[in-house]
Symmetry: C2
Subunit: 396 residues, 2 copies
């Protein structure tokens, strides 16, 4: 940091002539001592405010400028390397040294206000605590932070009034764009929006979705090839944006394969749960009613785990008596007993994709796709096997 000393000397020579000396004399130094050697004294407030250690209260541009005997604009110009301005290298270095010395951090708030850019986006999700949203958020967070963006999170628990209100609040907070996870937006917004697992087509909203057709093909073909013909299906909750698309694809593919979808073997999930309890009572009920089936296509892994528990509790073995296919491939799926056969949604990847598309749109990229489909993957583990002859015989 010796340059500081040199500059002080040189600076004195030059700067003494710049502006009226009076101007400089009359400038106050905003609380920062001007003698280079002298450190800023901690105000001895005694017991109060003991938590103000290690990082000092932020220094503003103005204070820095006063200290340097420059005007704030010049300091700003130097620190931002604004092109087309002539500032001598010596002054530049002097400014940068001071900025380092006082650990100057520009107020992003003020800068955002001025530039009308916040480098902040809003993320809207129904919940924070379950695996699905969490993985997507993780992908989103990774990408955004890598690109120097921050994000505000809000969750709405599927309540329509909050789904209506939070986007507005987030925009008021300066969010330049929004990512909505599994959220039924009812209309567009004045900023770019990317929806993950959004089902509706809304102008201005890019949908990042799973390729549900392919997913249905993977799971149904798998069961079909194993020999299953009597399959129970779970439909997702109505509030879940994916439910409809996924169901349509299943119906579609079942038709192609010549598989029958029986109403009495179709479970409609209703409860807003993120624990296996979601799948337990509904399968239990199916069994109590004496329904016969050799496989279950679950809406997700969590429900599949609940379903398996319900089967076990009725002394049915998985996969010997009943096969189960999950959906999502959450982390515990591979460590469940038995290991879960499932359709992997590349959730983290979907989150990253959503973030990437949003940032592209923020950078003025106009030619964005209306929909972006991500391919699923069939992960065959231990919960699927050929149907049990005995079970089959009992049917019909």
């Amino acid at each position: 940091m010796q340059p500081l000393k040199d500059e002080d000397v040189g600076g004195t020579g030059i700067a003494a002539e710049v502006g009226t000396p009076e101007t400089r004399k009359t400038r106050r130094h905003g609380g920062i001592s001007e003698k280079p050697g002298e450190e800023v004294a901690e105000s001895a407030v005694g017991v109060r405010e003991k938590n103000q250690n290690s990082v000092e209260k932020p220094v503003s541009l103005k204070i820095l400028a006063d200290y340097l005997g420059l005007c704030p604009a010049t300091v700003s110009v130097v620190l931002n390397n604004v092109p087309g301005r002539s500032i001598p290298a010596e002054t530049r270095e002097r400014v940068r040294a001071a900025a380092r010395k006082f650990n100057y951090q520009p107020s992003l708030l003020a800068r955002s206000l001025r530039k009308q850019r916040t480098f902040t986006v809003g993320v809207l999700a129904p919940e924070l605590s379950d695996g699905y949203h969490t993985m997507v958020m993780s992908g989103i967070g990774d990408h955004l932070m890598r690109e120097g963006y921050f994000y505000l999170t809000a969750h709405h628990r599927h309540k329509p009034d909050m789904i209506e209100e939070y986007p507005r609040l987030l925009l008021g907070r300066g969010a330049e764009g929004l990512i909505a996870i599994d959220t039924a937006l009812s209309h567009g917004l004045p900023v770019p929006v990317v929806a993950v697992a959004g089902h509706r087509k809304i102008s201005g909203v890019t949908n990042v979705v799973l390729d549900h057709k392919r997913a249905a093909e993977l799971s149904l073909r798998h069961l079909y090839q194993l020999g299953h013909r009597h399959i129970a299906f779970m439909r997702g909750q109505r509030f879940s944006a994916d439910s409809d698309d996924r169901w349509k694809s299943i119906v579609n593919v079942a038709g192609e394969l010549g598989l029958e979808i029986r109403p009495e073997l179709t479970i409609q999930l209703e409860r807003d749960l993120t624990s296996p309890e979601l799948g337990y009572p509904v399968v239990q009920e199916l069994l109590q009613k004496g329904r016969r089936f050799t496989a279950i296509v679950s809406f997700n892994d969590i429900a599949a785990i609940g379903a398996i528990r319900a089967l076990r509790d009725r002394n049915l073995r998985v996969p010997e008596d009943v096969s189960v296919v999950g959906f999502d491939d959450i982390q515990v799926a591979a460590y469940h007993h038995p290991r879960l056969t499932t359709i992997r949604q590349p959730l983290r990847h979907m989150g990253e994709t959503a973030a990437r598309i949003l940032l592209q749109r923020l950078q003025g990229f106009k030619d964005y796709p209306e929909e972006f489909a991500v391919p699923p993957e069939l992960i065959i583990r231990e919960t699927t096997a050929p149907p049990n002859k005995k079970q089959l015989k009992q049917q019909r």
Copy 2:
């Protein structure tokens, strides 16, 4: 609320004469049509910017003021119900009606700059995707949103330079306080900080921690009472803030019970994983080395699930041959097979507590505790049972 009506009546009579009509006429209307009935016409830009539907570009205070023929300050005063200002009820209503009509949303950015209050806090976590942080975040998010705060999230993957850098960035973004989850802060900050599962004592940082002593008592007593004497222990990863405290408590309680902690039965977790893979290879190794034990005290549920898988893969039954106690009580714990006996950490509650304490401190509450311990709970399920005689006999 009837008083309001009275004012309306009284106000009308007074306010009709106020202000020169000329003043109001000559003001321009800043692009907003002045005829109350006439809606703002969508500028017909054709193909471009089709995403600007439903919510218009934000209207500023100035535009609203111009439209009303008032000055921005007055409008602000009305909308914020600033006390001690005399504005007739008629004008107030006129202002509010206009605000509703144009869906005025104050710029929180500008307001924050002016008031030096952002109602935003920063949340710092190692990861976003695992159950622990997710549950804590969920509690934090709930409380903050309930109180009208927003939060910025950052994750650092335990990298020290990021742990150093992000707090600064978050403060630059206007965070008024910080909640650090499982993060090894090295020093205080110029704002209130609450650490969840932080281990160090740092002035200005309130620690919200689990009562580890109690947790160790619950799990060890339980195993002890069942008859276990040869217990394997997992120590958490060194980067995990909880590891040390938890281990010390275990050592402590083991001493009180007269239980021996054998180095050859102690597993040191090293890998930075959030999947059951964390616990699989380490237990596998223990078994390969031929170590004898009748119970495992796992560092967390995820690792416990991996451990159980490793035991099974060596044809050891849980709990008949080996008992396993987890930690955390994550959602799948109750639905694992067998259902996991574990120590429940009230994670969501801890998150809420952290948020609550932070907000209290932000509101100037000085007398905050340095540490806040939350009691754990023993959840006995199916992975613990009395030790197997045969296993016992083989020992020693």
